[in-house]
């Protein structure tokens, strides 16, 4: 607490931390949206937002978590915006993303990237944060602004989905749920 380094935390210190975080932001953004160009735009916009909001950063806390939350919120608002613009057809934005990814030509989506993009967005975000980014459930829940239990459940579901998609061993990977009892409610 009385760390003199933190007491003297300057804009330059912030900038250095932010710069060191940029590659991670890019990786997170790429996983979230699956598009290289869009991910880089998101990263840069998030970095600018972080820089302008630097007064609100508490030195000594987790810069990666702080900036991931900024990027995530920015990404969601961009998605909402594009959805609003195309509210006649909610699938348009999604199809655009796929088309643009295809148009990148030499880019070949790996099986992993492909599988990630097939996940429900909340699960994708969850498994990116915990499985790839190495955040704890608590940190990931704070970034995604949800309860820790919700985060755990999203990660578990994402894992099951990814295992199904990639390890092609659905028997093993399927959720350990017992066969639905008759009359039980079907969930999706």
């Amino acid at each position: 607490m009385a760390d003199p380094h933190l007491a003297n935390y300057t804009d330059e210190d912030f900038r250095d931390e932010l710069l060191a975080t940029l590659p991670h932001l890019r990786a997170f953004a790429r996983g979230l949206c699956g598009r290289h160009d869009f991910a880089d735009d998101l990263t840069q916009e998030a970095a600018i937002k972080a820089w302008t909001a630097r007064e609100r950063y508490q030195p000594g806390t987790n810069m990666r978590a702080w900036t991931f939350a900024i990027l995530r919120n920015h990404y969601l608002s961009e998605l909402r915006r594009s959805r609003r613009q195309t509210d006649l057809d909610e699938g348009v934005a999604e199809r655009l993303l796929v088309m643009n990814a295809d148009q990148e030509g030499p880019l070949h989506l790996s099986d992993m990237e492909d599988a990630l993009q097939k996940l429900n967005p909340e699960r994708r975000e969850a498994v990116l944060l915990v499985g790839a980014g190495g955040f704890t459930y608590e940190e990931a829940a704070a970034i995604a602004d949800c309860a820790v239990g919700t985060m755990k459940s999203r990660v578990a579901r994402a894992r099951t989905d990814l295992a199904k998609l990639l390890d092609s061993d659905p028997g093993e990977a399927a959720s350990p749920k017992k066969k639905a009892k008759s009359g039980s409610r079907k969930t999706s």
Binding site: P23, R30, G31, W51, T52, A163
Partner: protein
């Protein structure tokens, strides 16, 4: 007890980033981290030059 896995100490298998060396993980979990780390290890593209300059100059967005 019967934990026969290697030590989880600082020793890592060379050649792989430490993040990919967690024993007993399914392939996709390793693949996910590899994918993430492959982006982390990429140099920033030139499209970031502007941003880097802004930060260098201490400009506000």
């Amino acid at each position: 007890m019967s934990d026969t896995e290697g030590p989880k100490g600082p020793e890592r298998k060379p050649g792989l980033p430490p993040e990919t060396r967690r024993d007993g993980e399914p392939g996709w979990a390793v693949g996910l981290r590899k994918l993430y780390n492959s982006v982390v290890d990429e140099p920033l593209p030139s499209s970031f030059d502007d941003l880097l300059k802004k930060l260098d100059d201490g400009e506000d967005g």
